[in-house]
């Protein structure tokens, strides 16, 4: 029973990280129809920038803020200078993000070298929490709580604010949205930057446990894609449900049948695709 609870909590931790990555990916897809291959790179860059800033300033908060801002700015630059020229041409946009993913990977290697690292734990969250006889690392619980907070903020932003309403309009029908005076181009840039920032934030939150190394970008990207495919592309709710499904299955799969872990991970995707090609909450 204890084992089950611990594995479930571990699964929730994976789900929390996946949600931070996949929510940005799904939003970018929903608004701009961009399959962003560079999304994992934003996660990776977030971890590296945070590590550098933390090493200089000894401040975790500063590191997190710097990582999110720097990567969001980078995302905004990529969107405004390159992706925007290829609106409504998803293949060209995908290939551009692929090019950037390769450039970012190699640039990271060039700047920071190939040594893997982990970020320091926040003070006070190093140890473990104990409840009802189950000992659990406090930091993982913290990440789950933070991701839940981010999820609530995104939901409020999306459902309760004017920006959210414009966003939903742009997702549903970009042409009509721009016809009613919504600046879809500006909105797209902001969404892309926000997605990049969220991924970088994921990199910071996952930093103490997963750390950073060249290649983590393409290690996480397929997982994020599976989340988005299961949940339905463009759906925030789908990203949440998909993250929990994938996080749990990945965790239990690794614990129970490590050699087949990739298989157990992709099985639900195949089932969902066979039954509902648009994903659980996706619309055609």
């Amino acid at each position: 029973m204890t084992y089950l609870i611990i594995q479930t909590l571990n699964g929730l931790f994976s789900a929390a990280l996946l949600f931070l990555i996949a929510s940005g990916l799904t939003l970018v897809f929903g608004v701009m129809r961009i399959v962003n291959i560079a999304h994992g790179s934003f996660y990776m860059l977030g971890a590296y920038v945070a590590a550098t800033v933390i090493a200089r300033s000894q401040s975790l908060v500063l590191g997190a803020i710097a990582a999110v801002i720097a990567v969001a700015a980078l995302g905004l630059g990529v969107e405004m200078l390159f992706l925007r020229r290829f609106t409504a041409r998803p293949l060209a946009q995908m290939m551009l993000t692929m090019g950037f993913a390769l450039v970012f990977r190699d640039a990271t290697f060039m700047i920071w070298g190939g040594d893997p690292f982990t970020l320091p734990y926040p003070p006070g969250l190093r140890g473990s929490a104990e409840a009802a006889g189950v000992v659990f690392p406090a930091y993982r619980l913290f990440v789950v709580a933070v991701a839940a907070g981010v999820g609530v903020c995104l939901w409020l932003l999306n459902d309760k604010t004017l920006i959210g309403a414009r966003l939903r309009a742009a997702v549903d029908d970009p042409e009509m949205a721009s016809g009613t005076g919504i600046n879809v181009a500006l909105l797209s840039g902001l969404v892309f930057a926000a997605g990049a920032g969220l991924a970088a934030f994921g990199g910071v939150m996952g930093g103490p446990i997963l750390g950073g190394y060249p290649g983590i970008d393409f290690d996480l990207l397929p997982l994020a894609f599976v989340v988005v495919i299961i949940g339905g592309m463009g759906s925030l709710k789908g990203a949440l449900v998909g993250s929990i499904v994938v996080g749990m299955i990945d965790n239990f799969g690794k614990a129970l049948a490590p050699e087949l872990s990739y298989f157990t991970l992709f099985a639900p995707m195949v089932i969902v695709l066979a039954l509902k090609p648009t994903g659980l909450y996706g619309r055609t």
Partner: protein
């Protein structure tokens, strides 16, 4: 991308003939390094042409194509090392294995289009990569499988030395190219182009578009498997890096850079990328950076591919 006129076709045939002639005459005068490099270029040309069937002619952007190539290579590797199978058994099983995987995956992807197709094939390609990486008892995991016997040792074919293997590959390339050219020139091939341009119209004309896409996926997979078998014998070694996302995206670039929907363009694109990769790797470690830059430049400057660009200039 548009239909070819007879004059265009004749011109293309002339260029292809000249290229093949050069590929026959020159190699005996080259060092073994260049013969090996040319063999690599030829194998990837076959692979790129197979992807062109999907990406260029059917308009289905597969980002997991290296996975199918990898399955065929792994089947050859496992059979010829662990089970000591001969050339014919290994090669036939490799192609059958790749075809089987395509037939299976085809069922999952043939009803989706565009970016959905892209994401799903990406994920499926990663499944294959994951299997090759984690199924250690069979695939050797990260270490891969080495010691695939050279062709002369297995005794299946009287091929001795790199030059003979090169000519064998050239024959395979020309045969695959001819078969694929016949395939895209057939009514079936024209239906695929119709689906690429306007699927709902093809549907209302009574074509079973699902079946056409499915068969296109399988045909493309079979030719990718041929390249995979060739690669296993050329390299003597397979590892998960040959089927990861970077490999699939390199393949994607070969087709886009060369010119999707032309067959010959992707073949040259593959040759160019393999050549650049090997030459640049001799000077610098920054191959990925340069590859990324080529990607971005291709999209910015020649989104239709060099062959189409050149054809428009010339014509």
């Amino acid at each position: 991308m548009a239909g070819h006129s007879d004059r265009d076709g004749l011109k293309a045939v002339r260029y292809i003939g000249a290229a093949v002639l050069l590929l026959i005459v020159i190699p005996p005068f080259l060092t073994s390094y260049w013969i090996g490099l040319l063999t690599q270029m030829i194998i990837f040309a076959i692979l790129a042409m197979s992807l062109d069937i999907l990406l260029g002619y059917t308009g289905l952007p597969s980002l997991g194509h290296a996975g199918i190539f990898g399955v065929a290579a792994y089947v050859v590797a496992v059979l010829s090392t662990a089970y000591r199978a001969g050339f014919w058994v290994s090669a036939a099983s490799g192609i059958a294995g790749g075809a089987l995987i395509s037939a299976l995956f085809g069922l999952l992807v043939s009803h989706v289009r565009d970016v959905y197709f892209l994401m799903i094939t990406l994920a499926l390609g990663m499944v294959l990569w994951g299997v090759s990486y984690r199924w250690i008892p069979v695939t050797g995991g990260d270490n891969g499988i080495s010691g695939i016997p050279r062709l002369d040792a297995t005794g299946g074919l009287p091929i001795d030395g790199a030059l003979a293997f090169y000519y064998l590959m050239l024959i395979v390339l020309v045969s695959c190219g001819a078969l694929l050219a016949l395939f895209v020139a057939s009514p079936f091939g024209f239906t695929l182009r119709g689906i690429r341009e306007n699927e709902s119209r093809m549907k209302s004309l009574g074509f079973n578009t699902w079946l056409h896409c499915y068969l296109s996926y399988v045909v493309s997979g079979v030719f990718a498997s041929v390249a995979g078998v060739a690669w296993a014998y050329y390299n003597g070694f397979v590892s998960p890096t040959y089927l990861d996302l970077t490999a699939s995206s390199e393949l994607f670039l070969m087709v886009t850079l060369g010119g999707p929907g032309t067959l010959i363009g992707p073949a040259f694109g593959a040759g160019a990328i393999v050549l650049l990769k090997n030459v640049i790797s001799g000077y610098t470690q920054r191959w990925l950076l340069i590859l990324g830059a080529i990607y971005i430049l291709t999209i910015l400057c020649a989104p239709q591919g060099l062959w189409n660009l050149w054809k428009r200039r010339a014509g």
